[in-house]
Subunit: 114 residues, 2 copies
């Protein structure tokens, strides 16, 4: 896999389990066991997912006795937001054309009213 930051971030986000973990972490720091709770997979699997997220800089982990509390680190998502914003005009373009078309329809309706 490519190792540039953006590729690391995108590929970390390309898994629904990992995105769900981030969603959970948005509500606050928690343990690995509690993170694993909602999923029907083993703890080592979750551990691996966390390692991927950590390598991408999306989570950081502390130490509290035998717990490794995980917390969200959203900073890498800024680069994602910036990258994708470049393309906004392209996905809004079609909508613009639709709006043009609807305006045109409206104009025609007005004409037929007269």
């Amino acid at each position: 896999m490519a190792t540039d930051q953006l590729s690391l971030t995108f590929s970390a986000l390309a898994d629904p389990t990992r995105r769900a973990i981030l969603t959970r972490l948005a509500f606050g720091e928690t343990s690995v066991k509690e993170l694993a709770q909602p999923f029907k997979m083993t703890l080592p699997a979750i551990s691996k997912h966390l390692k991927v997220l950590e390598r991408a800089g999306l989570v950081a982990r502390g130490r509290d006795a035998q717990w490794r509390p995980c917390r969200l680190e959203a900073k890498p998502l800024e680069e994602v937001a910036d990258w994708v914003e470049q393309y906004r005009r392209f996905w809004e373009e079609r909508l613009d054309r639709l709006e043009d078309y609807l305006r045109e329809l409206q104009a025609q309706e007005k004409n037929s009213d007269v």
Copy 2:
């Protein structure tokens, strides 16, 4: 790999070659051969990358004689933008705290002026 749309999109974007292809396509429709031009990999490799992008709905292809012109389809990026926006407050948080701190500093300076 997961097959939900968002996972498909993220994983398509997790490769620098594919992102570069999308960047190129933002300047307009073009052939596979021309897309391959800047990369030091074979045409079949580019063909595969295009297939990944196509499966993610990020490019569409036409036919013109023996050419398969590719064009950007940015719509799936909207979901990416929406997803990542949920986290904006988290990566801006630290900045907010910095701003608070700077405001506090300013207040202190005012006091010391008096």
